[in-house]
Symmetry: D2
Subunit: 340 residues, 4 copies
């Protein structure tokens, strides 16, 4: 039996797309078949979104992406003006990105843990597992507590997740959890510095939820903070209204995919004639056959009037392989240079 | 080309598990291999949950299940005392169940529509597609408006999704959308009548979201209603605290799966020593290999201290096939008779 | 650590569709969505094949189906005149059906073995694993040797797999491995008694391959037996030519699926104007997106002129759940009564 | 409606891994999670196989890989001494590689054809579809006829697929279908020139099958050629016996995967104490949960005594993305330089 220390020693390292020029590789895939061709087409569509200077790019994140080594990819997209808003699950933003921003890490788990053979022992050591990755649960508790601390510092009221996450960014900036101070960069920090909104439509369903529950429990009867998930929707819809041309870069499906698509309809309900999302690409391993949202095709979304048919592409691939290629392609094509 | 009327004439009919005694069939599957044996074991575990009179049963719903013909299954579980709380995506509860309670229907789409060949025409006719199912978008708009009307009738304040959904149930009861009045039964109504709580942790991500956006837009500056998603989490955690033994019957994954599992940790954060979920079964087509929550094994959840290892079972199957067998098995075994 | 004996004590039991009348259940699924509706449509198409008295029904088997508890289903289809020819992988016919006909069994493996946690120990005990099922390797060796013995008893020459399998059936009949003698029934025996041909297009890729290798090794230089896989194709094509109307009931994909489809083209090459397979259903968990044959849609097969478009249905489900429903439906609808 | 000529104008182009140095990219993936880490580990294991100068490398091919743009990858592996034997489905070798060697091409199909919307029209134009790829059926018929011509030119007798494929290579060499003559290179030609054996264990299940059926039909009664699939197995087993250390590089699953694994057992049956395959990697999208061979883990194979546990890796990814990265990695690491 290994000790906790032995199990938590090989940290996940985030891939740096800036180091890998995959343009020629991806261009070659354009003339092949199956997922490689789909991937190449998706990369081209993302490049088109960036060249369309009227287009607001919304990045959607579902799945455990940040713990898997994709954090730096997202930071690079933010810092190079390749994304205008993020819609994400709470886990990616709080439990994983903000968690690492506090100085913690995710760890490589051995092959033998993947299917649960060691879960009882992990439980005893307070190691949490995400498939082939380990997390120190004691560190995660600190993350939960930090969110509570941040909430406690805010004026009672109903906030959108965006407002809370901005506060988290401010916390990082003010507490020196920044590259300038020798710490690792983070999505929450970069978004804060660049004034890019991040939305988590199911925001209580993550480490932040533990913070809010503790906060509300302590305030019983007194004025308190609450997460107004309607406000999220309202704010993101404003973004649609201000950027009539929009494109979706979706990693995984779930709530973020549906939420970002729905703002077209919400704009309509507010009486604004909004165009469908003009560009849409999704990387997923989900399938259309269960009828669920995650694997539903973008063509299906067009029947709902949410996504335009011309420039959409589903990429059937696990994201740790596909995203470095698609984001790396767009990065090295440098279309962002012309964006303002 | 078919007309809208022609396309919307073959309604989805909800399967009635009360008519199909599958006990012997499922018992036979217990001695086979692969998914059939997993399914049989899951059915047995659900039966155990019901025989454990101390156990609170939480039903989790993700995916488009109600539109797919599974509405009556859920109603039967509620009306036969086989479920104590529901955690669901908004779509199942509002866009699909409440929608049908208003008198609307889902329709069978022809095979040729499944992969998007007709989506441009559907768009023009305002027919929305969920894989092989059609919805009249004009009717869906009425559903959106009804949620707005209900919200407008409420006192300004921050509500949990449970409180809003209870209000929707009351609306149905008061407006005669009941079996007694010759209308179809519904999940929202049954839960209202039986006082069973329903939670939608990402409640703005459905038809109700359109209602709340419209409401908040109209009230700008004035006191208004908001969805407090922290309150959801707090309330569901209370339920865990009151039912120290709990079991999860999960259809699909997504936010409901994580949310319901997390209340074990939330109770702990509130200083209550809560036991892990003692029983847990999940029907899903998602896979563990992408590291995402939906396909993560219940063993993995045990490393997080959320689910006990002894009585858990993943069933890899599409839910429209698996749920009638599992729910039907438990129904015809009649363990609910001893529950109070 | 368990002993070999302890691990091999819970035998797989084959489901008996004759005991479970699922007609009403499957009919109800016809009005739902996703896989349940596909399954119901497939069951209906199989029933149509049987009512079409001109139709020759070809059953294709891939995957480890017999070890999984589906043996009796196939036997029941054969003994009730619901199948006219079988195309299978070798494993189903030799390593699994013939193996059980020799008196051996497959065993239920515990959940904890599914993902390989105990494979090193299993190796040492000579227990072979198929996902959640165990096999005694020493018994499998006896099966290999029996095939060699049968080959050794045949006149040197090039045989089709059908001829070899017929010889295996004769061996069972002559050695009293029959129900009459208190032994379990088998596919190989039933096919022999009913004169239904069984083809294994990749016949060396199973226990029989070990027999033929041993045989050929012993005969070096001398006249010997060989598997003529061209003859298989030729013989199956004759069957197409004699039954101009044909239907395919495919469980899994792989070589059997392609082989049975290709006879339409082969007939054409022999100068016979043969019609496409009029009916085709496939139960599979494979996906179209990898471009491989197993998951390719039956529509795709129609572009090759192999399968007609009107009565084809893919059912996305694991076979241990779907086949008892589909075969059980057709059995209890009794269309076979009118076949000759 | 497009004409046949319009549909067949954008040929599949084969990716050239020699142009894309992916070593740093793949090395970075080693520190991530999920499929990227698995892919990186698999690439490392392939590199190890090549550095182990005692190791015979067996390449297994299933699925439609050659039509998908992976032909040149395989040729590069052969011509750079990175593969010692091939076990493949017939389709890859005959219908796709040999077919292109005769001067024909595969074509890119538009997105709208992927799910069968145009299959009826394709049928009329004699265009065959593989998911998103088109083939001219009239050209495929010429391929069928060429195999018949080659068979007709051979001395009657029972041949292994290896012998037939060698003859096909000779045909290409003698008819100037070579790069020297300005034609494209091919797998069959390269293997012929380099004396690398290619086995197709289900050899009648492809274009060659049509050739052999036509041949046997014409020769009725007279001495003829037959495919001896036992001989295939015997020959490949010899290869195992001569290379006690062996490694498997498997693309897809199916018959080739099982066949190549089984030679360990076959050697044993011939009385030779053969070691298990020391290295094994598989790229697949198949899943373990259906119990079928294609998705069965390599750990499972170790319970059968076929594959060693230490250096095995499954990579869950579609091959057109994963193979260029894995093969490209090994190529640019240049381990082949030390092989003899
Ligand atoms: N599905 C819809 O049509 C729809 C419509 C409006 C809004 N939404 C919203 O989108 C969000 C996500 O929706 P979702 O639940 O469809 O997401 P989802 O696709 O992420 O489903 C969650 C998981 O459940 C499993 N699953 C779903 N359906 C299944 C089935 N039939 N059988 C077996 N497993 C199944 C899937 O494997 C998936 O991983 C929610 O907020 C929901 O309210 C969805
Ligand atoms: N594929 C064709 O178009 C075609 C054409 C003519 C004949 N055939 C014949 O059909 C039989 C079966 O063919 P098959 O090999 O296509 O069977 P298959 O579909 O059974 O493939 C085997 C396995 O390989 C995996 N796989 C295939 N392609 C993959 C990819 N691109 N990426 C990752 N994994 C992949 C799949 O998961 C599958 O489980 C063979 O005898 C072959 O000669 C096939």
């Amino acid at each position: 039996m290994s000790t906790k220390q032995e199990l938590l020693q090989n940290p996940i390292q985030h891939i740096d797309i800036k180091q890998h020029n995959v343009v020629a590789l991806v261009d070659a895939m354009n003339h092949m078949a199956y997922s490689s061709r789909d991937l190449a087409r998706a990369a081209t569509i993302y490049d088109m979104m960036l060249r369309d200077t009227e287009c607001g790019v919304i990045l959607c994140l579902a799945g455990s992406l940040i713990s898997a080594g994709l954090k730096q990819v997202i930071i690079d997209l933010l810092r190079n003006n390749m994304v205008d808003a993020i819609v994400s699950t709470g886990a990616n933003i709080v439990d994983q990105d903000f968690f690492e921003a506090l100085g913690f890490k995710h760890y490589v788990a051995g092959e033998e843990y993947k299917y649960g053979a060691g879960d009882a022992e992990l439980r005893e050591m307070m190691i949490d597992r995400i498939y082939d990755t380990f997390i120190d649960e004691e560190e995660l508790r600190i993350c939960d507590e930090t969110t509570e601390k941040i909430i406690n510092g805010m004026k009672p009221g109903a906030y959108s997740s965006r407002e809370f996450i901005k506060e988290m960014g401010k916390y990082l900036a003010e507490n020196g959890r920044t590259p300038k101070n020798g710490n690792e960069d983070s999505i929450v920090l970069a978004a804060y510095e660049l004034n890019i909104p991040i939305f988590c439509p199911a925001f209580s369903d993550c480490s932040f939820g533990f913070g809010i529950v503790a906060h509300q429990h302590a305030r019983q009867g007194k004025p308190m903070c609450s997460i107004d998930s309607g406000k999220d929707f309202y704010e993101l819809t404003q973004l649609k209204i201000q950027n009539p041309t929009t494109g979706l870069l979706m990693i995984g499906g779930g709530v973020p995919k549906n939420f970002a698509q729905d703002i077209v309809v919400a704009a309509d309900i507010l009486g604004v004639e909004a165009s469908m999302h003009k560009y849409a690409i999704q990387i997923t391993v989900a399938d259309a056959r269960d009828g669920a949202l995650s694997g539903s095709t973008l063509k299906e979304a067009s029947s709902w009037g949410k996504v335009d048919l011309t420039w959409e592409q589903m990429v059937y691939s696990e994201a740790t392989i596909a995203l470095p290629l698609i984001a790396g392609y767009a990065y090295h094509k440098k279309a962002y240079a012309a964006r303002t």
